[in-house]
Amino acid sequence: MADVPSDAPEHCPGTSSVEAGKTSACQGCPNQRICASGAARTPDPAIEEIKQKMASVKHKILVLSGKGGVGKSTFSAQLVYGLASDTSTEVALLDVDICGPSIPKMMGLEGEQVHQSGSGWSPVYVEDNLAVMSIGFLLSSPDDAVIWRGPKKNGMIKQFLRDVDWGELDYLIVDTPPGTSDEHLSVVQYLSGAGVDGAIIITTPQELSLQDVRKEIGFCRKVKLPIIGVVENMSGFVCPKCKNTSQIFPPTTGGAEKMCSDMQLPLLGQVPLDPRIGKSCDEGRSFLSLEAESPAAAAFSSIIQKIRQYCKDGVEDGSPD
């Protein structure tokens, strides 16, 4: 049965939810008895289908943060640009931020459409070895809002993982929205058969970010998602005129460095604020390529190298994740 059947009421909790058939919204639904009996809550066959599909993907990495606006999408974009700079590496970026899909703009792909073929949906290619999928490609106008409740978002994420014809990939990077909710649970659930190499956690130096990021780390540990490491973004700003550094988002409680030390996680790197990063993202161009000599690009490159090494070590260990 579909997670939200077509005859379900508006606040359907989803047929695979533990509350299926039991919420007040379920009263009067034709499927209520089946759901309440637990019969609908068998393992979703999509998990096995996705496992088959992901067999041709060597490494799967999630980019997470509890906090919004810390640079998850910006980092994901630079990560795939960096990985794909080696033209023999096949890379893809999946954007599961259903309400606020930033990736098409950042990758210079606004206005592109997705095509269907016999083997599924074709992702949109930035380069021959760099593919992207986002709900942004399914919207006809920049003003279109995706006003969906959780179960419908979950259905979309399932389709993205199961029905996109990724082909052979070295890396699939999954960019997520902020939080610890439907999108995050669904991505982890649907990839549970295929296995995920790990998660990269993005933060800024402030405690207001760290307090949300600690929750995200708790989420990863709860669902047994390995954490590759933490990236501290917006870490100081060097004035282009006088070269003095200002901490615009001050690390009042020790920043990511202290948090990583307390929680025994690797700090992959710290990326400074640079107006050219935002400009590149707005223009859909690779900051890494355009400003390769900048301190921020050096920071990104160093982090990307650590991620490559983590994946390589994982393969050599023989440990799947």
Binding site: H11, C12, P13, S17, A25, G66, K67, G68, G69, V70, I98, C99, G100, K105, M106, D143, D144, A145, V146, I147, W148, R149, G150, K153, P177, P178, G179, T180, S181, D182, L185, T204, Q206, E207, L208, Q211, D212, R214, K215, G218, F219, K222, F237, C239, P240, K241, C242, N244, S246, Q247, I248, F249, P250, T252, L273, D274, P275, G278, K279, D282
Partner: protein, 269 residues
Amino acid sequence: MERSDEKGNLAQVRHVVLVLSGKGGVGKSTLTTELALALRHAGKKVGILDVDLCGPSIPRMLCVGRQDVHQCDAGWVPVYTDAQKSLALMSIGFLLENPDDAVVWRGPKKTALIGQFVSDVAWGELDFLLVDTPPGTSDEHLAVVENLRKHKVDGAILVTTPQAVSTGDVRREITFCKKTGLRILGIVENMSGFVCPHCSECSNIFSKGGGEELAKLSGSPFLGCIPLDPQLSTSVEEGKDFIQAFPESATFSAISHIAQAVLANIAAA
């Protein structure tokens, strides 16, 4: 015409304003906090309802830390930031045993709690109830709008940073407002330029002007720009009253201007 007893716990709340953005990290919670403080300094009684269940920031910003929430006959008693009860607050932050506990809930459970937050908090008499939201156009936003249908909502303030990546998401939030019949009180452009404290050079770290352009494009009022200010960041980090501490700053002037514009827009309705 609705009878006031049908509005329950919101019966004595004069104005309800939502703070929205399609985009995360643009300063919704910061603006909500600063607006609340500005309104309080202007002698108003203010409440803040924080419906960001995954990332509740408001308790820290108002330095209310770990608080127990008590029940009364009418429902939950909000947490007051001061003895005069001029600023009341409700957030999931107060219901967690451990502040680092993640709230890993799917949509229906979030919807249910938000319904309770809207109907079952005994706000009492308030001039303003500000509702701080998470980014997006999903369960939390639908839950707030649906549960507030019985009560008159004055409208929504939309927050953006100047960049196209941000305004791109806020355009979708504008569509959400139009579809749900929510009046747009105006758009605020946050993180609008940074003045170096050493040499006064202005750097547009997150670009400039996008918020004002968006307001023109969508036919919404433009409420103003707030600059990037490390003193504001530190104040909200440490739960200090920025308005009281830095009344001479350009940032205070910007916030004050926005508060006046919001009051004027509400009065004009």
